[in-house]
Structure formats: structure tokens, C-alpha cells
């Protein structure tokens, strides 16, 4: 018996040339602003206003505006923080890990996924920042606090502080990676610009790029190293986020499985969000030749893989809770499954464990409408995962007299909706003013004209 591997589908369909790539990808940002864009942008800005309002009342009136209480000290805020940070992970996974793995299909989706990373991390940062209460003295806490005995520093033993370092490093390195990858494309737009303002703006940001082979050679080295360091970085970020829980003594949090489980979950939810955004973007911006069904298929496979890892983690966690023989641990998991928040637990199980298994069916993996629906389900499921981990572990603590229920207040719901406003405001601006696909990289994977007397194969970048 022998297996004949099928010929791979082309990564760019429609027989595009390098010139076509430039024209197709620059079209949305050179044409007139469409009504659809204004509609989407308007909605996003309205949600952004909700964010500003709800954050303002949270600051002026205090955290009493939120539903958190003495027992459930972390609830929607940290749920949403972990939710947004997780979403951000797909961007770096696509641009860094898939670069190291030489996966060329990443090239037409990495730019928008990285943009998504940056905007998602911005949304995430809002929650812990405002959860501090008096957000305006936040920067002062980073400095040594003078008191009678000297100056009190931050505590480097605390995973919360590690998280500050992880998230801020992640945000700034992602931003650098994203910007550096965009410079050649900004130069392309600069050289096509017809108005002085456009010329000036794109010239400013493209830093005099002229496509010199010497610059490209260095640029390739920098990209490779950045990918090499972003790979452990992205894994470390959600690992450290998980340590916020795993280093505690709360039953349901205190588990060593958390780091890999959180990372898999983050990639799972991140790809869910990438699919949600790209299925719309490829349609609206007419990019079906670049973000093909094959790309969607590949992303669904990642969802299937990471979804199965998450499912395995849930079951392992459950098994270990029983196997450990620890009474509190056993109760925490029984309470998740059959306690007052059973509906959250079963929503999580359905959305994250059962639904990704549908992607075993090839025709469903290649149906954009079905994938779009599933990507929303994945995001809902992953939100519930964080809610289940945080709220159901806390609301029934060691002391039954302090058992409470938690429900969000309108302010908290407003902040959550508002972060979607922030995210989409930036995303709409990105789609209007910046190239959503990495033109330089996509051009490098187009088939080359055969050269008459050169027998050397032209190597395309990784």
C-alpha cells in the first residue's frame, strides 16, 4: 500500500501577478469610504462611548458599581481580561510560530491577525487597570512607595506583577513586529499615493524604504529573530496569565495543568476570532483570492486541534480532582458541573468540547457560513470557560457562611460591550488606512516566470 500525497492547493488563486496583488490590496484604502464602513465604524464608536461612560462611572463612584463582592473578588473583569488576552494569541501564533514552521499560508492572514492581537491586548489591559480601583494612582504604585521604614517596592514574588511585565512586553513586541512587517507595504502605498497628505503620511511611516537587497537581507534576519523570540513570548504570556490562578490556593485554580491548558485555549479562541473577522473581511474587501477556502480550512484544523486539547484538559482536570482525594477540590468540580452555575459549565463544555469536533467533516471546514457560525460559538465557549474557572471557583469558598452568587451589573456589561467598541473602532481604522494583507510576502509566494537560462530554482521566503 502506498500513499500519494495530494497536490497542494495554490495559496493565491485567480492567476494574480505582483501588480494585481498591489492593486487588490490597496483598493480598499485608496477608494472612497464606503457606506458600509461608516455604518460599522459608527456602531463601533457608539460602543466605544459606552466604554468611556462606564469606565468614568467606575472611576468616579468606585467599584461598588460592579457586582463583585467580598467572596467573588474577581469576576467579569478578570474573565474579560483573560478572554481578550486569549484572543490576542492567534496573531502571534500565526506570524511567529507558523513562520518558524515555514507555513506559507500564514502570509495572507498574519497582518490582520497581528492587528487583532494588538487591539485585543489593549482591550484586555483595561480590565485589571480599572479593577485596581483608583486607576489614576496606578503609575505611582510602580514606583517605590515611601513610608516610615524606607521605600516599599512592588513584589516580584507575585504572579500579578509577572503578568504586568508579560502583557506589556507582549504588547510592545507585537506592535514592533507588526510595524516592522508593514514598512515595505507602507512604502508601496507611498509610491502609489496621489495626494500630498497621503504621500506625507505614508512617507513618514515607511522610513525611506526602497526595497534594497541589502536592507531586505537584514530585514529577513530581524524577522526571523523576532519570530524566534515571539514564539516563547506568546507561550509565556498565557502561561503567566494562568499562574495568576495556578499559584493560588483556591480549589479549582491550584492545578499544574493550567499553563498548557490556557495556552491551548488562547490559541483556540484566537483562531475563533480570526475566523470571525476574516470571513467578513474577505467578503467585504473582496479578498477571496488571497484568503481562500484553503486558508479557512487550515485555520479550522488548528481549532480542531486546540479544541481537542482544551477538551482533554477539562477531562483531566476533572479526573485529577477526583483522583487527588482532596475534598475541597472534588467539591469545586462537582459544584461547577451541578452547582448553581451549571448552565455556564455546560455552555462551556458544549461550545468548546463538542462543537469543534464537527470540523472533522471536510465539507463543513470549507463552508464559510458554517465556519462563521462556529467561530462565534467558539468565542462564546471560551468566554464561559474563563467565567466558570473564575466565578464558580470563588463563589463557594472554604467557609459556607460566606457563599454568595455573583451577577454582573449594567456597568460591567457596559464595559464589556465597550471593549468590543474599542476593538472594532481600531479594526475599522486599520482596514481603512493600512494594508490588511502583507503584500510583500504574498508576492513572494506567487509562481515565478520560468527563466530561460537560469536553472537555479528561485527560493521563496519561508
Amino acid at each position: 500500500m502506498s500513499y500519494e500525497s495530494p497536490i497542494r492547493e495554490p495559496l493565491v488563486t485567480g492567476g494574480k501577478t505582483a501588480g494585481d496583488v498591489t492593486a487588490d490590496i490597496c483598493r480598499p484604502l485608496e477608494g472612497k469610504t464606503t457606506k458600509l464602513w461608516w455604518l460599522g465604524f459608527g456602531l463601533a464608536v457608539i460602543c466605544l462611548c459606552i466604554l468611556v461612560y462606564t469606565l468614568a462611572i467606575s472611576s468616579f463612584r468606585g467599584l461598588g458599581m460592579w457586582g463583585i463582592n467580598k467572596t467573588v473578588g474577581w469576576a467579569w473583569d478578570i474573565t474579560n481580561f483573560v478572554f481578550w488576552v486569549g484572543i490576542g494569541h492567534a496573531g502571534t501564533l500565526i506570524s511567529a510560530i507558523l513562520l518558524l514552521f515555514r507555513q506559507k499560508w500564514r502570509m495572507s492572514i498574519n497582518r490582520s491577525a497581528e492587528a487583532m492581537t494588538i487591539f485585543a491586548v489593549m482591550c484586555a489591559a483595561i480590565f485589571p487597570l480599572f479593577h485596581m480601583g483608583r486607576v489614576w494612582i496606578g503609575p505611582i504604585w510602580a514606583l517605590p512607595l515611601p513610608n516610615a521604614l524606607g521605600s516599599l517596592w512592588v513584589n516580584f514574588n507575585s504572579p500579578l506583577l509577572w503578568d504586568v511585565f508579560a502583557i506589556s512586553t507582549y504588547f510592545s513586541v507585537s506592535l514592533l513586529f507588526w510595524y516592522l512587517g508593514m514598512i515595505p507595504d507602507l512604502a508601496t502605498i507611498r509610491d502609489r499615493a496621489t495626494t500630498p497628505i497621503r504621500k506625507f503620511m505614508y512617507r513618514f511611516f515607511s522610513m525611506g524604504w526602497n526595497g534594497s537587497a541589502r536592507t531586505w537581507a537584514r530585514y529577513e534576519v530581524v524577522s526571523l529573530i523576532l519570530a524566534g523570540i515571539s514564539t516563547p513570548l506568546v507561550l509565556s504570556v498565557h502561561t503567566i496569565v494562568s499562574m495568576d490562578f495556578a499559584t493560588s490556593v483556591i480549589p479549582g485554580w491550584h492545578t499544574t495543568i493550567f499553563p498548557p491548558y490556557f495556552v491551548a485555549g488562547a490559541i483556540f479562541s484566537g483562531f475563533g476570532m480570526v475566523l470571525t473577522l476574516l470571513i467578513i473581511a474577505r467578503k467585504v474587501l473582496k479578498l477571496e483570492s488571497y484568503i481562500t477556502i484553503g486558508h479557512l480550512d487550515a485555520m479550522c484544523r488548528v481549532i480542531l486541534l486546540t479544541g481537542s486539547m482544551v477538551g482533554l484538559a477539562y477531562i483531566t482536570e476533572f479526573f485529577i480532582a477526583w483522583y487527588s482525594g482532596v475534598e475541597y477540590e472534588r467539591y469545586a468540580f462537582l459544584n461547577r458541573m451541578a452547582g448553581p452555575y451549571w448552565w455556564a459549565y455546560w455552555s462551556m463544555m458544549t461550545c468548546n468540547v463538542i462543537s469543534p469536533q464537527l470540523f472533522w467533516v471536510k465539507s463543513w471546514r470549507r463552508n464559510p457560513n458554517f465556519i462563521f457560525f462556529m467561530s462565534i460559538i467558539v468565542n462564546i465557549g471560551m468566554w464561559f470557560e474563563r467565567f466558570v474557572i473564575i466565578v464558580t471557583s470563588l463563589h463557594r469558598d472554604y467557609l459556607p457562611s460566606s457563599w454568595v452568587m455573583y451577577s454582573p451589573t449594567p456597568t460591567e456589561i457596559g464595559i464589556f460591550i465597550g471593549t468590543f467598541g474599542l476593538f472594532f473602532t481600531f479594526f475599522f481604522l486599520f482596514a481603512r488606512f493600512l494594508p490588511v494583507i502583507n503584500m510583500a510576502e504574498v508576492k513572494s509566494i506567487l509562481p515565478h516566470k520560468p527563466h530561460a537560462d537560469s536553472h537555479e530554482e528561485v527560493h521563496t521566503p519561508q
Partner: protein
């Protein structure tokens, strides 16, 4: 890209393979390639042009090492030196494992930004710099091979012939007198 009082010949191509072919041919004829301008990285081109591997990686390593040391020294100063915290009567050495995450993050941060800055310095890229282009489409779909006309033993005709034979769409000349 070009310095004063120098003459350049530019061969303009529309295909990456031809650029690579002509660079190899010209080099085998003993002509030095000044530079190439391409809309995307053509792999093998830097080797064909005789560009050595960039040593930015060394810079990146040094930056990373500085970041790593900064993190270790700072955390030791804060947690052991300036304000030692006694937690459960443990010795201060017990802190070291909990320094690892921050040390790791700062190593990455310093590597990324250090290398980014070194890259911009090395390639003389700065915000707002006016680009020096041969053709507006060199960032779109055209490829340029630039050859400096050196005064001694430079056979311009031979270079032109090679460029055309390799499929150049156009050959341009430019002199820098500024």
C-alpha cells in the same frame, strides 16, 4: 543608496528570476553589483550579490543579555537588597525561581527593541526620510539591478548587453553630482 559624483546603470526587470540570473551572470563577468531593489525579498539574491550574512544576530544577543542582567540585578536589589521581605521565614535565596518570569520577559523586550533599533541604525532608516527610488514601481512589481560605473576598466556595453540578454525591460543611467 548612492553617493556623490557617481554614475550608476540600472537594469529594470519584471521578474525575480531574471534579476537573480542577471546578478549571477554579471558577477561571473567580474562586475560588482551595487545593489538590487525588489518589491519582496528574493531569496538567494543576497548570496548571489555576495552580501555577507548580517551580524545583527550578535547585536540581538548582546541586547538580550543586557535585558537579562538588568532584570536579575534589579530584582535582587529590590527583593534582597533594598527591602528584603521575610515570607514564612524563608531565606532570600528562595526568591530566585520567582524572578524567572520577569527576567524572561525583559530579556525578550530588550532583544526585540535593541535589535529593532540596531536594524534602523544599520539601514539608516528614520521616520520621514525621503525615499531614493529608481522607479516608483520598484515597491510594486518591478525589480532593479544597480551597477556602479567605475572609472577604471568598466565595460558599459558589456553590462548593457548582459542586462538585455537576461531580460531587462529597460536600462537607465543616472549620475549623482550633488
Amino acid at each position: 543608496m548612492a553617493s556623490k559624483n557617481k554614475k550608476y546603470i540600472y537594469g529594470i526587470f519584471d521578474d525575480a528570476g531574471s534579476v537573480l540570473g542577471s546578478v549571477k551572470k554579471l558577477r561571473s563577468q567580474g562586475v560588482d553589483i551595487h545593489d538590487c531593489y525588489t518589491p519582496f525579498p528574493v531569496h538567494g539574491l543576497e548570496a548571489a550579490m555576495g552580501i555577507k550574512r548580517s551580524n545583527l544576530t550578535v547585536g540581538a544577543f548582546i541586547c538580550g543579555a543586557i535585558g537579562c542582567l538588568t532584570a536579575i540585578v534589579f530584582q535582587l536589589y529590590v527583593m534582597v537588597g533594598d527591602w528584603p521581605m521575610i515570607i514564612g521565614g524563608k531565606p532570600n535565596d528562595a526568591y530566585y525561581p520567582s524572578f524567572i518570569p520577569v527576567t524572561f520577559e525583559l530579556t525578550i523586550l530588550f532583544t526585540a527593541f535593541g535589535m529593532g533599533i540596531l536594524f534602523f541604525i544599520r539601514t539608516k532608516m528614520v521616520h520621514g526620510k525621503v525615499e531614493d527610488l529608481v522607479d516608483l514601481r520598484q515597491t510594486d512589481d518591478l525589480f532593479v539591478v544597480a551597477i556602479e560605473e567605475k572609472s577604471s576598466h568598466f565595460d558599459k556595453e558589456a553590462v548593457n548587453r548582459t542586462l538585455i540578454a537576461e531580460g531587462a525591460l529597460e536600462i537607465r543611467e543616472r549620475e549623482y553630482n550633488k
